[in-house]
Amino acid sequence: MNASERQQRLEERVLAPLTGFSQTWFIWTGCLIALSVLGFIAYAYQVRDGLAVTGMGDDVIWGVYISNFVFFSGLSMAGTFISAILRLTGAEWRRPLTRFSELTTVAALSMCALMPAIDMGRPDRLWHLLVYGRLESPLLWDILVIPTYLAASLIYLFLFLIPDSALLRDRTGVRVSGARHRLYSIFGVRWRGLPEQRRRLELGGTIMMLMIIPLGVATHSVVSWIFGLTFRAGWNSTIFAPYFAVGALYSGTAMLITVMFIFRRVYHLEEYLTEKHFQYLAILLAAFGIIYLYFTFAEYLTVTYKLEGGEDLLLGELFFGRYAPLVWFGFFGGQLLPVVIAAIPKTRTIPLLVTVSVLANIGMWIKRFVIVVPSLSLPLMPYAWGVYTPTAAEIFITIASFAGFALLITIFAKLFPIISIWEMTEGWEEEHSAAEVPPAMPPAQLAPQG
């Protein structure tokens, strides 16, 4: 297969899903929209009747909304972050992964940013944050950092989308509607692939990558400090920021594997999203998972050993009490099993990997929940344990947030190629020139020998 054939085949494959709507697509998207609408209705009820429609109370003041918030912030971590790191280190295998990774980040972060607003008692006063915002409050750090990370991720996503939009503008002009053509013209910003334009794209990209990495770390740190800066048993910990950041990388990588699997299956991209890519992501998943287990161990060892304050009551409830099934499932199913499966080359097959990735994220959601809720239900004074059961409103809104996450990805994937075509081409070009003039040094590879 010569270069131009290869290029043409790639374009055909990747652009095929953009045109034409299958019946399944309509059903899928319709379901997602329906679920989102249900969530909106539930939220409307909540606005009318107040947070009284939730299961929260004066003891357990935060519930699934805040769990979702932490969970989505975690999901968002890996995409852009991994894409930036792989680009910076010049890992070649990143090329087909970058686009949907960044997309996952943007989708997850959008949902993450909604959650605190949904959780607010007075959403009508959101503007108070702008007018009266106090920098001393950890919550304000979140309010500042998360939108910044979202904006940076959006810029990052659309920056590297320019050449592909231009391609769509130029190639599919005949086939797509006028509105779409205009959309591609806007996002293609007069890109013609000139050397100067390439240089600028590269510069802009590098700046964004350098910004995104600290921003990603900052996001997960500030999320953790909402908890870590209080006196509550189970939260009062210095380890929380790195603990959350690693947990986020772990959960985000698992989500990437899941999203990659779905796109590969649905869009028939087996040729580009290969076994190798699953292997590499699995190694990352195992690595993050092992660090996360290490942090979990360190965290629980220090509190279990000292049993300060209310920790003994809390740990009792976590490990042997009401939350024990969740905690143990989260630990074995959500952490240990995925790490083992992903770490052993024999078990690292695509179906198993995808299964444990889904498990890992179920486990991580549970983990978020058992970080938020039990610490709050632990009585601070001699009164009874707080109880919390999410209500229908909370469940509908939660489901809607997941539907919204999937919907954002679905719509984007209908409008833009899910694999970065120009990056693939660039890779082949480099390969080609490298074959002619052997480089002094082999290109940096992050991936181990698979």
Partner: protein
């Protein structure tokens, strides 16, 4: 108060007897000098001391604190009533039922014997709640009271997560207000009407302190267990006795809740189990459920009457 300190002491008073009436009035009664000490029996002397009046507007700010003498607290079981402090608080603030600002807990003391513990806002100097508020809706006023501005609170509940005493309450739904409350002159010092989606808590009856009255709970406590103190003047009163605050704390091994957290609460407790009223640690005292303001039939008019009565104790007595 500056003027106070420089004013000549009556002859024969040793410095070890600091609780001269004048000092006392400077402390608790400075604002009270405006004629409203109410439950402080010495109030009727205030008007006779014009120089105290003058000092009210100058000098260092009062710093309110509280001391609760658990030797006197027996959950109002002696008089067979529900904790009167809680009921007084509910009535004074029309506290939404089920989210009492002041609660009386039964705590296991040393030796496993239970005692009662009225828990209100600790008015921490190093308050975790005020630090975390993203919009500055909760803050210290100049007199050391932690207040909430319900016009500003966005209902994020960060402060509730931060409070180590579980003091703060949230209006999850539309709270019930007494008729006419909509027209009430809202201020963080007397937060009425209650509002949906905002956080509430005990604010040491800042509105009463302004008028020189001790908090509703203290004045409602028939056992005189709760005292308001002014740390600036180092004087405290439960409405009956007046004493030197620091001395009282030291003499009676006062402690604060969760002192090791470093929050520097301004509420002290004197250990005890109601022994001042003859209770033994083995007594099985079962307190009654305090009534909400609705159950007490409280209205804004009745509250106003009550306040008036407190302001003119002598006329009340004459009746």
């Amino acid at each position: 108060m500056e003027t106070e300190r420089t004013s000549p002491q009556p002859a024969g008073k040793s410095p070890r007897q600091p609780l001269s009436r004048r000092r006392l009035l400077g402390g608790i009664g400075a604002a009270a000098a405006l004629g409203a000490t109410g439950v402080i029996p010495l109030a009727n002397h205030v008007s006779a001391e014009p120089e105290v009046k003058a000092s009210a507007s100058t000098g260092p700010k009062r710093q309110w604190a509280m001391v609760i003498d658990l030797r006197k607290c027996e959950g109002c079981t002696t008089i067979d009533k529900a904790p009167q402090c809680v009921e007084a608080c509910n009535a004074e603030h029309f506290v939404p039922p089920g989210q009492e600002w002041l609660q009386v807990f039964e705590v296991e003391g040393p030796g496993g014997h239970p005692h009662f513990l009225p828990r209100l806002c600790m008015q921490c100097e190093n308050a975790p709640c005020t630090k975390v508020c993203p919009v500055g809706a909760t803050y210290h006023n100049e007199e050391g009271i932690v207040l909430i501005n319900h016009d500003r609170c966005i209902g994020c509940r960060m402060c509730m997560a931060a409070c180590p005493y579980g003091v703060r309450r949230f209006n999850w739904g539309e709270p019930e207000n007494p008729p006419g409350a909509a027209l009430a002159n809202y201020s963080p010092e007397y937060p009425l009407p209650h509002r949906k989606g905002t956080v509430e808590k005990c604010m040491l009856c800042a509105h009463r302190a302004k008028d020189g009255k001790i908090p509703a709970c203290a004045s409602g406590c028939p056992m005189f267990a709760i005292s308001l103190a002014d740390m600036t003047e180092d004087v405290a009163t439960n409405g009956k006795d007046v004493f030197k605050f620091s001395r009282f704390l030291a003499d009676n091994s006062a402690y604060r809740l969760k002192e090791d957290l470093g929050t520097k609460p301004r509420v002290w407790y004197i250990p005890g189990h109601g022994q001042e009223y003859g209770h033994h640690v083995d007594d099985n005292l079962i307190p009654k459920e305090p009534r909400s303001w609705q159950e007490q039939g409280m209205t804004l008019d009745k509250l106003e009457e009550k306040h008036k009565a407190e302001e003119h104790p002598q006329t009340e007595g004459a009746k």
